[in-house]
Amino acid sequence: MKDIAEQEVIDIGDMDVEAFNEFATEQGWSDGMPLFVPTETKVAKFVETVRGDNRPFAPVPPRQVIPTVQALAANAVMAGCKPEYFPVVTAALRSVLEPDFNLHGTLATTHSCAPMVMVSGPIRHELNINCGTNCFGQGRQANATIGRALGLMLLNVAGAKPGEMDRSTQGNPAKFTFCFGENEEENPWAPYHVQRGFAPTDSVVTVMSGEGPHNLNDHGSTTGDGLLTTFAGGMANPGANTVYGKGPMFVIIGPEHAATLKRDGFTIESIRQELWKRSRIHLSRVSKENLATYESTGHKPDGDWLSIGRSPDDIHITVAGGPGKHSAFIPSFGGTMVACTRVAR
């Protein structure tokens, strides 16, 4: 008889949900929260939603297996997705499989990174994805389960088992789920997917292997210039991987901060340039030993300053969230990219 790991379809007899969860935990399929049962009937409903998308999936590292659509759907079912979420989940998976995303490195690292999933375009509203108040937090099935489904795929298909392939020193709550929508309606500039060359009517999934959101609180500044001073101060973090200067990062501006910046004439590009200039880290904030390590891998200071990122283009900017004077900085793993995939419809 074949080992369970080699069977695409498994007969588990008459198990109730609790028994299935015990079984799934024994197989190493669980992220620790309760799972739905990926029955043949449920999986078939999910597979139906991606019938028009016949592109094969690349081998998924580190485990180096080519997944079947049914196996992927089983993860989305277990995560609690609705079938109509599945094209977004598969788009997220295609994004992390871009070679420069460096999925192997992002999963095996000791860093705390988790895949940030951002959804743009009309599908945000069709799926009721939260783009406004508490968009990074709890409360919506789509946000909660799309991110979780990708996490389960990385656990079960990629093989990123904590303590084995996943070597994160402390982990990160975003490893359970980290999915939100852009607030395009309150973005005074172009939404992110349009900045990347997609049409406004396209629905696009953007992923980056990042830390959780770092809050950028500024209730006092009344000018865009003042806000950028605060943002840059929060970004100049000698403990984030971006201090190595080798990877992207996101600045997710809250709508009220965005309105102030727009009023004062800032564009996405001018914000990017200002943040690049102002977010450098003074060498007095970096230990000598750490600096020697950075220099040995080619990241040399400019005078007394270390830049974060390789160029202003590493700073990715958009708008999300609701009312309030908060924005967020999301540094990445470092050796990764921001990857976008159009949702196949």
């Binding site: 790991a5 197989q27 277990m78």
Partner: protein, 93 residues
């Protein structure tokens, strides 16, 4: 009840195990490859220095990935395969 296996996939690697070729550790050229994490190079330097008591070390060379967080570039792997009989990798962490 029948369920789909969420970890099922087809192996993308060859069905055959990669076998190691014989190495003469007393004379063959060896690549010492650091993963670019702190102390990986120092560890390899220490090993090289100690090997010097038993064998010539001129053909034991240091190499390193460009970045600890990224895979070794193809050129480096090809260089090792072409010019060395053995490689010692240090995973500092």
């Amino acid at each position: 009840m029948r369920i789909y296996n969420p970890s099922f996939g087809l192996s993308a690697t060859s069905a055959e195990k990669v076998t190691l070729k014989p190495v003469n550790w007393a004379t063959d050229p060896i690549a010492l490859i650091s993963n670019s994490k702190p102390n990986a190079r120092e560890l390899l330097e220490g090993i090289r220095s100690k090997l010097g008591a038993h064998r010539q070390v001129e053909n034991i060379k240091f190499m390193a990935k460009n970045s600890a967080s990224q895979p070794a570039p193809k050129e480096l792997i090809q260089d090792v395969a072409k010019n060395y009989r053995a490689a010692i990798l240090a995973l500092g962490d």
